[in-house]
C-alpha cells in the first residue's frame, strides 16, 4: 500500500502543478468579474514560449534555462491576455466569446510560428528540464517524507506555496478586497473610488501570467516539446478546478491536486493491482463529472462572483 502511494502521490502533485498555477490565475480573473475561458489558450502560449525559449537558449543559460523560460512565458502570456482584457473590459465584448477567440488565436499563432521556425508541426525535445529535488529536513520525516517531499520538482512545491500566497493576497490585503469588490458589485466599488477597469486589467493580466507559468512547466516537465496536442484541455481542467474549488485559491488548489490525482491514476493505474480492472475511461471523465456534480450543488453550493461576465459601464444602472 505504501509503495502504491509512493507512486501515485508524487505523480499526482506532478500533474497538478500546472493546473494549480492556471487555476489560481483563473481565480484572479473571475474574482474581478471577468470570465476567462481563454485559460487554455494562455497555457498554449506559455507552453509554446517556454519550449521555444528553452530550445533557443539552453546552451547559454544551462541549468537556469527552464526557470528563465518560465519567466519569459509568464511575461508573454500576460501580454497576450491583454487582448482578452481589452475586448472584455474596454470593448464590452461577450467575455466567453472573447475567451474562445483567445483559444483559437493562441493555438493558430503558436503553430504558425512553430512551422515557420522549425519547418514541421512540432518542436524538438527540450533537453534541459527542472531537476528533481528532495526538500531538506521535510523529506526525512518517516512515512510522509518519502511520499510528499522526496524526488519532486521544485515548481510543484512552488505551486502549492503560491496558492497560500494568493489566498493571503485575495483575503487579507486591500488589493484583494478591491479585487473582490469589483467582481461582486462594481458600481459600489466605483463609488468608493476604486478604478474598476484598472483592477480588472490587472486581474486578467495576472491570470495570463499564471496560466503562462502553468503552460510552460507543463511543456517542460510533462510533454517536453510543443505541438498542437501539447495543451489539450489542461486549461479547461484548470477552469474546472477553479469552479470546483468555489473560486477560492485553496479550494482551487485542492481541486487541482485531486484532478492531478485522477490523471495520475489513469496513467499509472495499470500498475496497481486493485485498479487494473477499472477501465481508464472512468478515471478520465472523473474530474469533469465531479465538476458538474459540484456545480449542481451535491458537494456544497458553488456561487460565482455576482458581477461575473458583465462588463461595467459607468453610469449605467
Amino acid at each position: 500500500m505504501l509503495n502504491i502511494l509512493e507512486i501515485i502521490i508524487p505523480s499526482a502533485i506532478f500533474f497538478a502543478a500546472p493546473l494549480i498555477f492556471t487555476a489560481l490565475g483563473g481565480v484572479f480573473s473571475e474574482r474581478s468579474g471577468v470570465v476567462n475561458i481563454g485559460l487554455e489558450g494562455l497555457m498554449v502560449i506559455g507552453a509554446f514560449t517556454g519550449v521555444v525559449f528553452n530550445l533557443t537558449f539552453a546552451d547559454q543559460f544551462g541549468q537556469l534555462t527552464p526557470w528563465l523560460a518560465m519567466l519569459v512565458a509568464m511575461v508573454v502570456a500576460s501580454i497576450f491576455s491583454l487582448m482578452h482584457a481589452v475586448a472584455a473590459i474596454s470593448l464590452r465584448a461577450d467575455q466567453v466569446v472573447s475567451g474562445v477567440a483567445i483559444n483559437f488565436l493562441a493555438l493558430g499563432l503558436s503553430l504558425f510560428l512553430v512551422k515557420m521556425w522549425y519547418g514541421k508541426g512540432q518542436t524538438d525535445q527540450v533537453q534541459v528540464g527542472f531537476d528533481k529535488i528532495d526538500i531538506p529536513i521535510l523529506s526525512k520525516i518517516p512515512v510522509i517524507g518519502p511520499i510528499l517531499f522526496s524526488n519532486g520538482y521544485l515548481p510543484s512545491y512552488l505551486a502549492i506555496v503560491l496558492a497560500f500566497v494568493v489566498w493571503y493576497v485575495i483575503y487579507k490585503t486591500p488589493f484583494g478586497l478591491r479585487l473582490r469588490a469589483v467582481g461582486e458589485h462594481p458600481m459600489a466599488a466605483d463609488t468608493m473610488g476604486i478604478n474598476v477597469a484598472k483592477m480588472r486589467y490587472i486581474a486578467v493580466m495576472l491570470s495570463g501570467a499564471l496560466a503562462g507559468i502553468g503552460g510552460s512547466i507543463y511543456a517542460t516537465i510533462i510533454s517536453r516539446d510543443f505541438s498542437h496536442a501539447t495543451i489539450s484541455g489542461q486549461g479547461f481542467m484548470a477552469l474546472a478546478a477553479m469552479i470546483f474549488g468555489k473560486w477560492h485559491p485553496l479550494g482551487a488548489m485542492g481541486a487541482a491536486l485531486f484532478f492531478g490525482f485522477a490523471q495520475s491514476l489513469s496513467i499509472v493505474g495499470q500498475a496497481i493491482p486493485f485498479l487494473k480492472n477499472v477501465p481508464t475511461v472512468y478515471l478520465l471523465i472523473l474530474p469533469y463529472a465531479l465538476t458538474i456534480l459540484a456545480l449542481t450543488g451535491f458537494i456544497g453550493r458553488a456561487d460565482a462572483p455576482k458581477a461575473l461576465g458583465t462588463p461595467y459601464v459607468k453610469g449605467k444602472r
Binding site: 466567453v96 504558425f112 489539450s232 465538476t291
Partner: protein, 348 residues
Amino acid sequence: MSENRLTNILVPVFAVILGIIAGAIVMIVSGYDPIAGYSALLYGAFGDRYYIGETIRQVTPYILAGLAVAFAFRTGLFNIGVEGQLIVGWLAAVWVGVAFELPKVIHLPLAIIAAGAAGALWGFIPGFLKARFRVHEVIVTIMMNYIALYVSNAVIRSVLSDQGFKSEKIHPSASLRSEFLQSLTDYSTLHYGIIISLIAAVVMWFLLEKTTTGYELRAVGFNQHASHYAGMNVNRNIILAMVISGAFAGIAGAMEGLGTFENVSVKAGFTGVGFDGIAVALLGGNHAFGIILAAVLFGALKVGALEMPSAADVPTELVDIVIALIIFFVASSYLIRLVLTRFKKEGK
C-alpha cells in the same frame, strides 16, 4: 432598411475584412507573400471542380454546427458543447450504420435520427441542470465535451472494434455518399449531407420565426421573468432549446460519420468543428441565412488553407489566426459600431 439592421450586416462584413487584412499583415511580418498566400487559398477553395466539392463538403457540418450554436444563442443560452454533441452524434450514426442491415429508405433516416437523438441527449443534461439547479450551461457543456470525447473513444475501442482504433465501415444503405455528386466534382468527398444541412437551416428559421414554440423560446431568451409572467414555462423552454440545439449538433456529427468518413475512429483531441460552429454562428448573426454564408466563408478558408503550404509556402495555421481574429472583431463589435456611428454623424 433601418439603420440598425444595416449596422448588423456591416459589422460582420467589416470583421471579415479586418481579419483578412490582419492575416495579410501577419504574412508580411513573417516574410511570406500575402498575395501568393491568398491566391493559393482562393484556388484551393474554388479553383476547380474538385476543390469546390471539398469546400461544400466542409461547409456541410459547419452549417449544422453553426445552427446548433445559434439556436441556443437565440434562446439566451451559450452552447459550447456542440463539439461533444457532435462527437456522440457521430458515434451514434456510425453505430446504427454498422449494426443494422436495412433498406436505405429506413436505414439512412434511422442513422441520422439516432445521431440527432444522441446529440439531443447530450444537450438535455446541461439544459436540465440549468433549468432545475440554475447551473451555468457554459461550464457544464465544456465538461460534457470531454466526457463525450473519452466515452466515445472507449465505446469505439471496446464495442465498435476489438480494441482497435476505428469502427468498421458503415453499410452502404446508411451512407450519404453519392456517386453522382462525386463524379460531378472530380471525385471529391462531396455527399448528400449538404442538402440535409440546408433543410436544417430552413427548419431552424421556420421553427424560430414562424411557430409559437419558437416565439416562446426567443421570449425566454430575451427576458425570463417577463416570459414567466406571461405564462410561459421557462424551465421547459430552456431544456427544449438545449435539446434542439444538441440535435442539430448531433446531425452535424452524422454528416461526418455517414458522409465524409463512413466510420468513426478514436480521437486524440477534438474535431474542432463544434468550436468553429461558434465562429460560424457569431459571424452569421445567429440567423439561418447568415449562418449559411458564414459557413461557406469558413469552409472555404479551411479547405483553401490546405493549398497554401505547397503553393505559397505559408503554414495552414494562418487561416486559424484569421478566423480567431474575425471572431475577435465580431465580439468587439462595440468598436466597429462606434466607428460606424461616428462616420454617419460626420456624413450628415
